[in-house]
Symmetry: none
Subunit: 399 residues, 2 copies
């Protein structure tokens, strides 16, 4: 876990399980297989937190130091358990494998520990209560860890907690940068510590998570409303989803409900808009396809855009975007045509500055275009342009 | 990073970079946006390690506490920098956005810190030397963090280390799964601890990194040849790049060198192939565009595919892929046509099982198709299908 390759997924799983019973994770530490350093980590953690979970390092080899380290941190000796040894020997008999001498290390328990059964491996877990604190030792392999967490650790933790209910709200927002959004809604959410507010931002996409923890569901919902309703009012139509759906799924829902179809014409995004739209399962119900027109000649040939128009306005223009949207709508017979054309850089091919993107939607009620300007490099302009195009379409589709 | 969802990838990247200059990571700590806890963490880390890197929490909002916490940990005040403020204002002017009042928080430096330039965002990094210890503050978004680590942090760290020469080799491989590849080359690389071998795999794309660390460059190069040459021989033409270029850049190079053009026809990938190809700066020199034909009707209309052929063979067939590739080549006038059609699921629309993908290339010397079968979900089939299509084209383009 201290290498450049190994992704830590155990802690995510454990966090999800803990959150579900109302326990917050305040600290994660990844440390090497070094006994003293690990012992110091466990001691420090017990000074801060009521529950300390240690994963990994319960195997039979020399570098499996967790038992020793926690024994040292708690000042409790390791005690040999004949019962555990008998169970280990039985497991090896059942697996039809000879038991190596060093597996006997796995038959030692920290004094006062409950052994937690591990049906999928040889390392049992350990649960140690120390006054109002708890330390649990859990195996590292996810397939051994997960059932032990679900069946043994979480129920034991839940029994020690006052009953608490967690309720959440999520707003996904497009068309607004993170700082502007924060400046707008911080006056609301900073008044609350419960619910807790987390803001996550990606290219042109901001997620606002509210999480309330209360004795009853009613109380939690009331707090969510107190904090969330004013936020929703401030953001209005910029909120595109409250159930976690991405923009392309929201668009899909609306098209499907209306029984309408969509086609796209992409220049600078080169397929990213289509790629996003077709990432939704069942998108063939409303998405027909479209044209990638990366050159002027292709805009003329595939979409019927007027060559003179391109000469007069260049391909990065409102006129070109409108002609592309109308063109793809006409060629495919879709109800809606969505077009993107812009300067992604690094070498601009038209007089428009890098980061300029024109979006256009052609629909049953006519056509409309929008100019947007993004900072940053090629990749960023294309990602933000894709998001802006989908959001422009969403607003034209209406509720 | 303390939620059940967010995977920590920054620390992996940073670890890789540190390892490459011979620095080991001994501890990673993930802590919340709480000033005192973070300050305590930094203080404790400085007691253990010569280099402490802190990522994230440099934004403009109230919950961005890293500057304050490290200031507290080091006992050094935050100092307002008129130069940083001027740079911030200039950035906002260039982006054409008004600067929010709270962005001024980003103009404060810890006393004695060097500001590290962040061309991709508003949060500058900070480099603070404190006796023989170093603390660096780095922005959280990977696209801002990575260039800062590569261009500023690692060179500054390397200057503080005893000289050691590092030489690397990289093979990028397509058309082979990670386990098969590993089974093939493990007999070679496991004989060496220097160079160190790292294998990274993504959808249909495997990277083999060799890193030799020696007193002299000659020694390092000799070790790389001893380990790398037999690997290259075993993999042969499956190696598509040794300079890190992705498949789409390799394809671009070949088309550019030959003065030829390319167009794509995508069904199940819905734009992902075009999106990859146009991610390369300058791709408009050889990529004309193409058609997204997500329905049978569009394959007929936009590509001139014979409707009877689709009825007879279905859209997920070798015949359909060939007709699409030839169709897009004819319609656009490109030298090469590349087509993808398949069943991405979850509900198959044809008799072909989910995960079946047909690729076809039409070129100056004729047409050829390939059937591939991928395991996994919709997203995986589309990603692997995209990679396989690009690799099929690469092999047809030749050297």
């Amino acid at each position: 876990m201290l290498t450049p390759q190994k992704v830590d997924t155990n802690s995510l799983f454990v966090t999800g399980q803990l959150n579900a019973v109302g326990v917050e994770v305040i600290r994660k530490t990844i440390t090497g297989d070094e006994r003293d350093l690990l012992a110091e980590t466990v001691r420090a953690a017990l000074g801060r937190a009521a529950i300390v979970l240690v994963t990994g390092g319960l195997g039979p080899t020399e570098d499996d130091v967790t038992r020793d380290a926690v024994s040292q941190a708690l000042g409790r000796p390791l005690v040999f358990s004949p019962r555990l040894l008998a169970e280990l020997e039985e497991k090896f008999r059942r697996f039809g494998r000879p038991m190596a001498e060093n597996n006997k290390r796995q038959a030692y328990l920290i004094e006062g520990a409950d052994a937690l059964d591990n049906p999928r491996g040889t390392a049992c877990g350990q649960w140690i209560e120390d006054g109002d604190r708890v330390v649990a030792l859990l195996p590292g392999p996810p397939r051994e860890l997960k059932p032990m967490v679900v069946h043994d650790v979480i129920p034991r933790i839940a029994r020690r907690l006052p009953p608490l209910v967690i309720r959440t709200r999520l707003y996904r927002v497009a068309g607004m940068g993170e700082s502007d959004l924060d400046a707008l809604i911080a006056p609301v959410y900073t008044k609350f510590t419960n619910p807790a507010t987390t803001i996550l931002a990606a290219a042109g996409d901001v997620q606002i998570h509210l999480r309330a923890r209360c004795a009853t569901a009613e109380e939690a919902e009331a707090l969510l409303a107190q904090c969330g309703d004013p936020i929703a009012e401030l953001l209005g139509d910029r909120i595109y989803s409250t159930n976690g759906d991405p923009l392309e799924a929201v668009i899909g829902e609306r098209l499907r409900a209306a029984g309408q179809t969509l086609a796209v014409a992409e220049s600078c995004t080169g397929g990213l808009v289509g790629g996003r739209l077709t990432g939704v399962a069942g998108s063939s119900k409303y998405f027909l396809g479209g044209a990638l027109t990366y050159t002027d000649a292709m805009k003329v040939k595939l979409l019927g855009v007027d060559a003179e128009l391109l000469e007069r306005h260049t391909a990065v223009s409102e006129a070109a975007a409108l002609a592309m949207a109308e063109g793809v709508r006409a060629v495919t017979g879709a109800d809606w045509g969505l077009a993107v054309t812009g300067e992604a850089g690094p070498e601009p091919a038209t007089p428009a500055p890098v980061g300029t993107v024109f979006l256009a939607v052609a629909g049953p009620g006519g056509s409309e275009a929008q100019r947007v300007q993004f900072p940053g490099d090629r990749d960023r302009v294309r990602q933000w342009g894709t998001q802006a195009a989908l959001n422009f379409l969403r607003r034209k589709l209406g509720r």
